[in-house]
Amino acid sequence: SSSTLRKSMGVAQHHDAVSGTEKQHVADDYAERLYKGRAQCQELVGDVLGNLMQKNATVKPPQAVFCDYLNISVCPVTVDNQQFTITAYNPIARQVTTVVRIPVKGNYSITGPNGKMVTTQLQDVSEGTKQARRNRGNAPKELLFPITLPPLGFSTYIANSLPGAGSPPSNVQYKVFTPK
């Protein structure tokens, strides 16, 4: 049932599904339906990416994971692994450059699809993020880096943990203003 995105849908079109004009148990039902549709779409997109990557691969790539709470800096794959990859798909028909923010415990080097190192910025997560994620994650840092994606295509970036001693000095300045 999840072989095409037309079948795997995570869309609720009644205005109640968007606006909050429904009873709470209906809201809960919408949330469950959207979650199921989203999970199916993620599985399908993960399969498609795996197939595309396999064209040049000698071994089957691992299953792609999507981090639903990335907006509050929660992503177990990036927090718990010394090495991981970030694959970004661009649905727009022109090249796009944007900035990715991922939660991490320590510093990482990021290698772009052309094999060159990418500029990164390692910083503490904000107090607002700590409050918002509650018990979902505890990564103390965020890693920011720019990515460039081809039209209607994807790029893969590789993250490698940098050991504490060999880690470059912080390139981030903090400045705190105290009220007068």
Partner: protein, 282 residues
């Protein structure tokens, strides 16, 4: 001293005492605009003797027409983080309300990421939280919102093109849907706010643009839901909302190009996936 952060396109100045945004400069045109950005709340109406209509899931009806400032009057505890990829300005308005303003390297917009909630209700008052940009633009009662992310429609305060408007609700009567963007402008400059979700907003005063970002009401509005809009969430104390507004300050003749391109990028943002380990296939 005031603190200024900038990239190639924008310069933002924050009041060194309060930590609030004070001005924005479009570096291409060299034009500056005074702008105070803060958060406010309207008390949800529970009806009056004259009109029993309550604020609820369908209806936004504030009890008073002037919102209360969520800035505590002293400081938002400004913290600035500067790095090679982005500059962040972190503000804490309330224990349950914070904001990070970001300027990315070589990006034309300023990103305002707000985290709101759980909205406190111990005072038994429903609350409707807005973000508001107060500028010195001479907007002459006019502002603009989009219709389903496509056509931009001109809105004139206390006015309807099709019928004689009776101004019984000065604030909510001027609220319009914002699906992707809203803007205000004068003959030279335009302030455009791109939303990451459908919201409601208005320009209640000239030069001002407000957008509702979260609400929690304690009464049913009697339009069929039968429940107040009071979702308590997984932890039982109310929902925490995080969202973004991408703000453009450009000359009027360059504004449409900027917000059309950015709008497409926000609506069709890249999707990220992760795999652990790095193997030959990579």
């Amino acid at each position: 001293a005031d603190e200024t952060v900038e990239n190639q396109f924008l310069s933002l100045t924050f009041d060194g005492s309060t930590g609030l945004l004070k001005s924005m400069t479009d570096k291409k045109s060299g034009r500056s605009m005074s702008v105070r950005q803060s958060f406010y709340w309207y008390t949800s109406s529970v009806g009056t003797e004259q009109d029993s209509q309550k604020s609820g899931a369908y209806i936004f009806r504030p009890a008073k027409q002037t919102p209360q400032d969520l800035f505590n009057g002293t400081s938002v505890g400004l913290k600035v983080v500067k790095g090679p990829v982005a500059v962040e300005v972190r503000q804490q308005f309330q224990p349950w309300l914070s904001q990070v303003i970001r300027l990315y390297n070589a990006k034309e917009f300023a990103e305002f990421e707000w985290t709101v909630g759980p909205i406190p209700i111990r005072d038994h008052l429903g609350k409707e939280i807005i973000t508001r940009f107060d500028t010195d633009l001479k907007t002459n009662r006019t502002f603009y919102t989009d219709a389903n992310g496509r056509q931009i429609l001109e809105r004139i305060r206390d006015h309807r093109a099709d019928w004689q408007y009776s101004n019984t609700e000065p604030v909510s009567g001027n609220y319009y849907p914002i699906n992707s963007r809203a803007f205000i402008k004068d003959p030279k400059m335009q302030l455009t706010v791109m939303t990451d979700r459908s919201q409601g907003g208005s320009s209640v005063q000239d030069g001002s643009l407000e957008i509702m970002i979260h609400r929690r009401t304690l009464a049913d509005d009697n339009r069929g839901v039968g429940e107040p809009l009071n979702e308590t969430g997984q932890f039982g104390d109310g929902l925490i909302i995080r969202g973004k507004h991408c703000v453009l300050l450009t000359s009027v003749n360059k504004a449409a190009v900027a917000h059309r391109i950015l709008g497409e990028q926000l609506y069709m943002a890249p999707s990220l996936s992760f795999t652990k380990g790095v193997q030959d296939w990579a």
